[in-house]
């Protein structure tokens, strides 16, 4: 016997809950829910234990307003998720649909299990109609998102999307919940037709298809669907802490706890201060096990949704090295779930992966939920270097830094001729001109590499023409320490940095001019932690400023169509994107842009010290990037970094583009346009 209240003559529309289900269903449902809820709570508790619950308690409310702002922008409003069209729309649809349906279900709970007992109701009248309409609408959004999802995985087949059983089951679960929800609504409106049924427009349409069906069969089907809908939904909720669905919470937490200030990904952490250590202090830096990562880094692992955006952006991956930033994070995540006590290099990661990274930060830029795959790679590097586990070329480079204060391993005498040449051009040393406004830091590349010296010659001509007051350090110049730091030798970096800071302070230097983005980044972002914060200016910025102020005038723009390669450490890491473009458009016939520009630029393959050792790759990053430059139809490739210059110099030769593409630093172009 089926008891159905055929509520005819109802004036006010209201939500009818459990009316088609047998009496007592609500109680049984809650009993059934219990084990699922327990599984969920246990899972969440276990995850929190993995991250180190105790460690972040004190962090929870620190800087809360700023952190809520971050969460609003990147979690609630999905700013970075939406930066990609198809994936962004897909996620926004599923995300907003799921939230709406969750709110809808919660309202039913409030209405039926709380307010009803108090004799009240919210789901009635106009609000109820609005409720029905918007849930049907958001359900459609949810379904549309799922359709795009299936399309991306089955039809368009995006290479970065990994097929995993877990994901397939999740997708089936979501599709089932959406589908069964609509069918149940259709059945309900067929079994209990209501005047206001039209507000549930999808359910109403389905009901009209079922018109004239056998009521008893429909009720049986409805009840079956009701329970399966509930059980599938419970299962999915219970599985959240055990699956990729966990990202619902972890991404928000990761975004909330990510650094508040817009810290450049070009800034590495400073785990100790060499000048504050006791000589015999024994400290360990870097991480070799997930358990040695800090809680925020562990949380970051679980925030990874395996979306693969970092992999698609990674130059080392494109070059066919074993590195994929996504796989680094995913492998560490799996390892965390397995307990996290294994040495990274005993079956979790490969040393080659870690060394293939150019530290370009493209993965950090690409990640929609503010994970830094780069950070894990650098931690692993530090741990390897701490042990001295380096092959010949890497240890030679470090030895060169220790003995010759430059990564080339050339004695100071090798550059004395060049310093003499600069002096004969009229460039004073800082000792000769202590009042100079700018210290022009030449950098190792341009001190020892003959092609890169051209940048300095051009820059000196520009500075003199504009009457800028500047001086060089001469014999006192060393290396910033960047190559040591990026390879993981923090101690050597700090030793060199502290020596430089000493030199700068001795000469009372406040403004440093550089033409190397790596020097720029190190001075700008990394010396701060060691107690020195100079004002650093890149030559493209200074040239731009001189042009704006009218201190420099372009006589005749050079006859070239130029494209600009944004260097990672200038563009992405330090957001210097406008000045180089302004300078180039003034001093040439016109600037054309490559496919990947600005913060989304593609590394030349020299960053992160990879310039100094061999990385086995299928194709050089520089060659891939060069093709993008050639595709623009430009006849000149402008660079803003001596290492990019050297990389493309080789790439132009091996790819046979010597005739088609001229390679020049911004300063060289400007210097020519002045004359």
């Amino acid at each position: 016997m089926i008891l159905i209240s055929m509520g005819s003559g109802l004036d006010t529309p209201f939500r009818e809950t459990y009316t088609i289900m047998p009496a007592g269903t609500d109680l049984i449902m809650y009993i059934v829910l219990l084990p699922f809820a327990a599984l969920f709570i246990y899972g969440v508790y276990r995850r929190m234990r993995f991250y180190g619950l105790r460690d972040f308690r004190g962090e929870l409310f620190r800087d809360a307003p700023a952190r809520l702002g971050l969460a609003l922008r990147y979690a609630l409003l999905q700013r970075k998720v939406l930066s990609e069209k198809r994936a962004g729309i897909m996620h926004a649809a599923i995300y907003s649909g799921a939230i709406a349906l969750f709110i809808g279900t919660t309202l039913v709970f409030v209405d039926y299990d709380i307010l009803r007992l108090m004799g009240a109701s919210i789901l009635r009248g106009d609000f109820y109609l609005f409720y029905e309409f918007s849930l049907d609408l958001m359900g459609l959004a949810f379904t549309a998102g799922l359709c795009i999802l299936v399309y991306r995985r089955l039809v368009a087949r995006e290479a970065r999307l990994r097929p995993k059983l877990e994901y397939i089951l999740t997708i089936f679960g979501l599709i089932f919940i959406a589908g069964s929800g609509y069918v149940m609504e259709g059945l309900r409106l067929s079994i209990q037709p209501r005047e206001w049924g039209g507000w549930s427009f999808v359910g109403n349409a389905l009901a009209s298809l079922m018109h004239g069906g056998d009521v008893e069969t429909m009720v049986t089907v409805y009840r079956g669907l009701w329970w399966s809908h509930a059980v599938v939904a419970f299962t999915m909720v219970a599985l959240i802490p055990y699956s990729n669905l966990l990202h619902i919470f972890t991404t928000v937490a990761n975004i909330y706890f990510s650094n508040i200030r817009p810290v450049s990904p070009g800034k590495m952490s400073t785990p100790f201060r060499l000048d504050q250590l006791e000589p015999t202090d024994e400290i360990r830096i870097g991480a070799r096990r997930v358990s040695e990562l800090n809680w925020r880094q562990r949380l970051g692992l679980d925030a990874c949704t395996d979306c693969g955006r970092c992999e698609a952006a990674c130059p080392a991956y494109a070059a066919g090295t074993p590195l994929s930033p996504r796989m680094v994070v995913q492998k560490l995540r799996m390892e965390m779930w397995d307990g996290g006590d294994r040495d990274f290099f005993e079956g979790v990661l490969d040393e080659e992966e870690v060394w293939a990274c150019t530290t370009c930060g493209a993965c950090v830029e690409a990640c929609p939920v503010l994970i830094s795959p780069l950070e894990y790679i650098l931690e692993a590097r530090r741990s390897l270097t701490l042990e001295g586990r380096l092959e010949k070329k890497k240890s030679s480079m470090l030895m060169n830094l220790a003995r010759f204060q430059n990564p080339y391993g050339l004695p100071q005498s090798e550059r004395s001729g060049f310093i003499e040449e600069l002096r004969s051009m009229g460039v004073p040393t800082i000792s000769e001109k202590p009042e100079a406004e700018y210290l022009y830091w030449i950098g190792c590349a341009s001190s020892y590499d003959s092609r890169s010296r051209e940048i300095v010659r051009s820059m000196v001509r520009i500075l003199m023409k504009a009457g800028v007051s500047f001086a060089i350090l001469g014999d006192e110049e060393s290396c910033t320490g960047d190559p040591a730091r990026r390879i993981g030798e923090e101690g050597r970096f700090q030793e060199m940095a502290l020596a430089n800071i000493d030199t700068f302070k001795r000469h009372n230097i406040r403004k440093i001019l550089v033409h190397c983005p790596h020097c720029y980044n190190t001075f700008k972002n990394e010396y701060d932690d060691l107690g020195y914060r100079p004002s650093v200016i890149h030559h493209s910025q200074l040239i731009g400023q001189l042009l704006r102020e009218g201190r420099l005038r372009i006589k005749k723009p050079i006859a070239a169509r130029v494209t600009l390669h944004d260097s990672c450490y200038l563009g992405r890491m330090n957001n210097i994107l406008e000045e180089p473009r302004q300078v180039l458009s003034e001093s040439t016939q016109g600037l054309v842009e490559m496919k990947r520009v600005g913060r989304r630029s593609f590394c030349c393959g020299a960053g992160g010290s990879t310039y100094w050792y061999e990385v086995p790759r299928r194709e050089r990053e520089s060659v891939i990037r060069l093709r993008e430059a050639v595709d623009t139809g430009a006849d000149t490739l402008a660079v803003e970094c001596p290492y990019c210059l050297q990389m493309f110099n080789d790439a132009v030769r091996v790819s046979g583009y010597e005739e088609r593409l001229r390679l020049r630093d911004i300063a060289e172009i400007v210097a020519e346009a002045l004359e």
Binding site: K394, E489, G491
Partner: protein
């Protein structure tokens, strides 16, 4: 758990050494000193044996005209436990005979040991003498030019790279083994480890501490002259068909006496 002595020499970095443009004499003052490359391989091998066999001491010994403490500290930072060193000006002209004698006295100060590892030669003189001479002093077996080494119980097995191929030999310990560059890649101590190594002992001795007198440092080999080879190109441009070129080239090579008929 074997205790291993590693002999290291501080040499001038020959890659930095440039001859005087006129006298062709090497300008030692312009080059820095370093631990001879082969000796770092010997030390690395000792450390690997210790890691594999779970213990034992690794002792560094070094003799030279002026031992740089910092370089010794780097060997301790790599993982050696202690160092025994002597500096004496006369050691500047030491040959293999003198070096082996002085090193044996230093080793005597180090206490017990099971194995002595040396680089097969030094970066600067390349005499290949010191290791074998040490074995002679102790009357123990020695295996030279080793590119792979295994220790089990009281014997060692060594793969020796020789001109005609690889010889696999074994002998009992104590023994002296000299190793080549191909045996391993030495680890590079990080700055933090070098600092931390300042806790480890470096024992410095005087000649008298070792029971030696000035006379003992007199080498058997006298160095008469040290000069760089002058390399100069002929700067000749040849033209003609490949056949003609080959003939002319052969005539030049024979004419210069580069190849004997």
């Amino acid at each position: 758990m074997p205790d291993i002595v590693v002999c290291v020499k501080q040499t001038v970095d020959i890659y930095q050494l440039k001859p005087h443009p006129e006298t062709l004499e090497p300008q030692f003052s312009q080059a820095q000193s370093k631990i001879s490359d082969f000796d770092l391989n010997a030390l690395e091998e000792a450390l690997r044996i210790r890691e594999k066999h779970g213990g034992g001491k690794v002792i560094v010994v070094s003799a030279g005209p002026s031992i740089n403490q910092l370089l010794i500290r780097e060997t301790l930072a790599m993982g050696a436990d202690e160092a025994h060193v002597i500096s004496h000006p006369s050691l500047a002209s030491a040959d293999g005979y003198v070096t082996a004698k002085v090193l044996s006295k230093l080793i005597g100060k180090a206490g017990r040991w099971d194995l002595i590892l040396c680089g097969e030669a030094s970066l600067d003189n390349s005499d290949y003498q010191t290791g074998p001479r040490l074995a002679e002093i102790y009357k123990i077996p020695h295996l030279a030019y080793v590119s792979k080494l295994e220790l089990s119980g009281q014997s060692i097995k060594a793969w020796r790279t020789m001109e005609d191929g690889i010889h696999i030999s074994s002998c009992s310990i104590p023994a002296v083994v000299t190793v080549g560059l191909e045996i391993n890649t030495p680890r590079l101590p990080s700055l933090l480890m070098i600092r931390a190594a300042s806790k480890k002992p470096i024992n410095e001795y005087k000649l008298s501490d070792l029971g030696l007198v000035e006379e003992d440092l007199k080498p058997h080999v006298q160095l008469l002259e040290l000069k760089a080879l002058k390399v100069e190109r002929l700067r000749k441009k040849l033209e003609g068909t490949p056949e003609e070129l080959a003939t002319t080239l052969a005539d030049i090579i024979l004419g210069e006496g580069l190849v004997k008929r």
